[in-house]
Amino acid sequence: MPIRKVWRESRWRFFFILAALLVVASASVFYNAKAEKVVIESKDFHEAGMRTIRGALFLFWGFSAMFLGLGGFLRERAVGTVDYTLSLPVSRTRWFLYRSLIGAFQSMAAALIPALAIPVIAAVSGGDYPVGDAFLLGLRLGFGGMLFYSVGLLASTLFAGDYTSAGIGMAVVFAINNSTRVNSG
């Protein structure tokens, strides 16, 4: 039952983010026809990581993952339902655990589904994009980007308002993105 509640409270945010990322992924294929640019060719982890955290998809995904981390008790306090939630026989730790796990699964799904959609979109537009590469891209986005999800989770634990949490989270994501940008030349 707690899992059902957490899912119900986050599902529209998840579906919206998924749809937005699919639009971003489609746009990158249709309008730039350069989807290959985000393929990770290098086997070197550091270089692969640095290359992964470039590009519109990753930036969008970073913000999205951060948004998936929002919610929780402070938000419930703001909307007035926290008293009811805390009167149920579930510890705060378990509520947090359920929220963290579902958010992590949603983040991973939000990374994998748009990445795996790229080969399909590429085929529709007459191009070719290997499914294996797309899967690898999705996994790297998902695992590497857990950092951004954690930022959202932390922000929602520290700040009550959705706008405050989102604003601070976005600033952190933007800062991380800028600080990890590497010179290609």
């Binding site: 039952m1 059902r4 509640k5 119900r8 409270e9 909307v79 007035g80 339902t81 926290v82 008293d83 009811y84 805390l86 009167s87 149920l88 026989p89 579930v90 510890s91 705060r92």
Partner: protein, 295 residues
């Protein structure tokens, strides 16, 4: 007297303000306990500390014999908050099913009866319910649990008189079934209507505590009329809680020793002496005034 809630020297500070200043009280098992106080007197803060929604600054508090932080006791208690906020995205049917799953003591017959009594629309979203309907739903969710203790924070706030009456009758029925009811209110009339035990607080401290019958027996109003009233200090003795001079009349609120105080009338040349029982409203107002005079 077995207690379901006990606090000792409970304090809660918000910045420089004390919401609770050494609150010591006992909620006896098997009673309907009215938790009376003005707005801002500390009732909601006390309840939130008992439910571990907020943390106390100092002092001790136990609920059903367990420390307030124990989440296991939540299976044994029900709670209806002041604003009756519930999950707006769920339908009435969904939130009933959701809540039912947490409580093994859930009574389907109570759920069915209250659904019929309250005429709740099962397929309507909680966000589309009026405050009165939300209160009914909140009551159903709590009364059906059949918990040992039901805590309600200003349950009649925002309700019309008919709905208030319906709610009070349901609380009485639940208490008859063995549940201890602890409800806060600033409406003396509704407390007096159903409560058999009173705890009144002011500025985060208990100013009145005991069974309603005992309080009614214990406190008496003694009115003495004089041609030339003596100074109030003449009545300073055990049992005198408050002395008020109104023209030629001296009105004394006594908590004990009534016979001795009454006997002062003839000694001090009173023209008449009249002893009256004191209603809860008057008693509460006197205690609040007395607290302000002392502080």
């Amino acid at each position: 007297m077995k207690a379901v809630v006990e606090t000792r020297d409970l304090t809660k500070r918000f910045g420089n303000n004390y919401a609770l200043s050494g609150l010591t009280m006992t909620v006896p098992r098997g009673h309907i306990v009215g938790f009376l106080g003005r707005n801002g007197s500390g009732k909601t803060t006390t309840i939130k500390i008992l439910l571990d929604v907020i943390r106390r600054t100092s002092g001790e508090a136990t609920i059903l014999g367990e420390p307030t932080g124990s989440f296991a006791i939540r299976r044994r208690i029900g709670f209806l908050g002041e604003d009756k906020r519930l999950y707006s995205y769920m339908t009435v049917r969904e939130i009933i099913a959701f809540t039912r799953a947490f409580f093994p003591t859930w009574r389907m017959e109570t759920e069915t009866r209250l659904l019929a009594d309250f005429e709740l629309p099962l397929s309507r979203k909680v966000r589309a319910l009026s405050k009165g309907m939300r209160t009914k739903l909140g009551l159903l969710l709590n009364l059906s649990r059949h918990s040992e203790l039901l805590i309600l924070d200003e349950p009649s706030e925002g309700l019309d008189p008919v709905m208030t009456e319906q709610m009070l009758q349901n609380l009485v029925r639940q208490a008859a079934d063995g549940t201890t009811i602890f409800f806060s209110s600033h409406q003396v009339a509704e407390v007096e209507q159903i409560a058999d035990h009173i705890i009144a607080i002011e500025k985060g401290r208990v100013i009145l505590e005991g069974s309603l019958d005992d309080l009614r027996q214990k406190f008496q109003r003694i009115n003495l009329v004089f041609d030339d009233p003596p100074p109030p200090e003449a009545f300073k003795r055990a049992g005198v809680d408050r002395v008020i001079v109104r023209g030629r009349t001296i009105s004394i609120l006594a908590s004990s020793n009534v016979d001795d105080i009454t006997a002062l009338g003839p000694i001090l040349a009173a023209k008449s002496v009249d002893v009256q029982s004191v209603g809860l409203k008057e008693l509460f107002l006197e205690k609040v005034k007395g607290d302000h005079a002392n502080s």
